[in-house]
Amino acid sequence: MVRQHPASAGGRDESVDESRRAAGSRPDPTKVRFVLGASGIAALSALVTVIAAPPAPVSLPVSPPAAPTTVTQQRPIVYIQLAPGQSPPPGATVIDAKAPKPITIVTRVPAPPQQTVVVRTTQSGKVIP
């Protein structure tokens, strides 16, 4: 039995020859690629230079330095509602959620003026003379 080398197969040899012929007829792309790459790098470096470069100095009217101002910053008070079983962090103020909210009341209601008023609100069943 004679083994045929793949390269020596008839049809195959023809196709290899054609591809070689086609490759031989194209121009070498290496030079063009080099030119394109170099020009891309140049353009990119130019862009970076324009963007990152500090602006040209502009002459501004010189003003005296402003006096330092005091800014009062209010610190927000953060409330954390503790879930059952949780304990507060050390030093935290603990407020009972069920405690009544402080309210302001008037303890000295001015005396009413002496005048006859027909419309009157009373407890139910109160007999008005």
Partner: protein, 326 residues
């Protein structure tokens, strides 16, 4: 609670003009174990005003008769005597029961219309009501043609009391829509309407002295096209009270205990937008006591509140000063 004295009155833009209170035409009768009064901003010679007032009083009396537990044939008494747990009721009783639901919600459930047994027991009358610690479950749903259906646990009986009066005052005032300034007084619970620029003077009764007042409120109509609605109601422990077992008992039942409320408030008056809400909140303030009661009224955002304590102090929420007559 932080208590601050504010003897100086705060002024308001509305007080720039000293307003003269209305001198009303007044028609009165008795109902619900107390007085029933209509005040209209009309002259005493106005026959139409007098006719409208008398017509309304007759209507309110008919409604009140359906809601009274003192009348055996009233719709409320029939409901209380009905052995069924699910009972259809008519439009008037249905609406009053809905008002009871609203009053409970407004008062943070310190007003409860299912406490008839506890109320009778406080008076020393026989009661077959459920035990105080039994959940008083009941519900209401709408039926056909403005009727309602009550669904309740066995033994639940209703006492509308002040809720009915606040509701009747509101419903009565709605019938006087042709009068821009009118007041319906249902035994001390007032539903008021003030026309633009008009002012009603309202005396807050001092229960310690007949004819005297703790304060006089000026309730005005805002300068808008539409009349302003106000509700004023007073509740307390100094009128309906009995001596029993060597202790004084009153009619305001605390739903948390099923017994007359242990409170340091003798009387509370609340001013807000409706008589029903004012009634519920005034009663709740008495039941809750001074500290908790004022806090409750503050949360409710009422327009004003005046409280008389058992120590003889007259306390008020700050916004009340805007309503006081000078």
């Amino acid at each position: 609670m932080i208590t601050a004295e504010r003897p100086a009155r705060t002024s308001r833009l509305a007080r720039e003009i000293a307003q003269t209170p209305i001198v009303p035409l007044t028609v009165a009768t008795t109902a619900m174990g107390g007085r029933l009064v209509v005040h209209l901003a009309a002259s005493g010679a106005d026959d139409r005003a007098r006719h409208d007032a008398q017509l309304l009083l007759a209507r309110i009396r008919r409604w009140a008769d359906r809601l009274s537990r003192h009348i055996e044939t009233s719709e409320l008494s029939m409901l209380n005597a009905d052995p069924r747990s699910r009972v259809p009721v008519g439009p008037t009783l249905g609406a009053a029961l809905w008002a009871g639901v609203e009053a409970a919600n407004e008062s943070e459930h310190l007003v409860d219309i299912t406490l008839l047994g506890a109320r009778l027991a406080a008076e020393g009358l026989p009661s077959t009501d459920v035990a105080a610690d039994t959940p008083r479950r009941w519900s209401l749903c709408s039926g056909p043609r403005r009727t309602a259906v009550v669904d309740r646990a066995p033994g639940i009986r209703f006492d509308l009391g002040g809720v009915a009066k606040g509701w009747l005052a509101e419903r009565g005032l709605a019938c006087l829509s042709s009068w821009p300034s009118a007041v319906v007084d249902a035994d001390g619970d007032l539903a008021l309407r003030c026309g633009p620029g008009a002012t009603w003077a309202v005396a807050v009764d001092d229960p310690r002295t007949d004819g005297s007042a703790l304060a006089i409120l000026h309730l005005s109509g805002r300068a808008t096209r539409w009349p302003t609605r106000w509700g004023v109601a007073t509740s307390g422990t100094s009128v309906h009270r009995w001596r029993r077992d060597e202790t004084m008992r009153h009619h305001l039942i605390d739903p948390r205990t099923g017994a007359p409320a242990i409170t340091d408030v003798v009387q509370a008056t609340v001013v807000c937008g409706s008589a029903l809400r004012a009634e519920a909140l005034a009663k709740a303030a008495v039941i809750a006591g001074t500290t908790q009661g004022l806090a409750l009224l503050e949360r409710a955002g009422v327009a004003g509140a005046v409280i008389l304590t058992e120590r003889g102090e007259t306390l008020a929420l700050p916004q009340t000063l805007n309503l006081l007559a000078e």
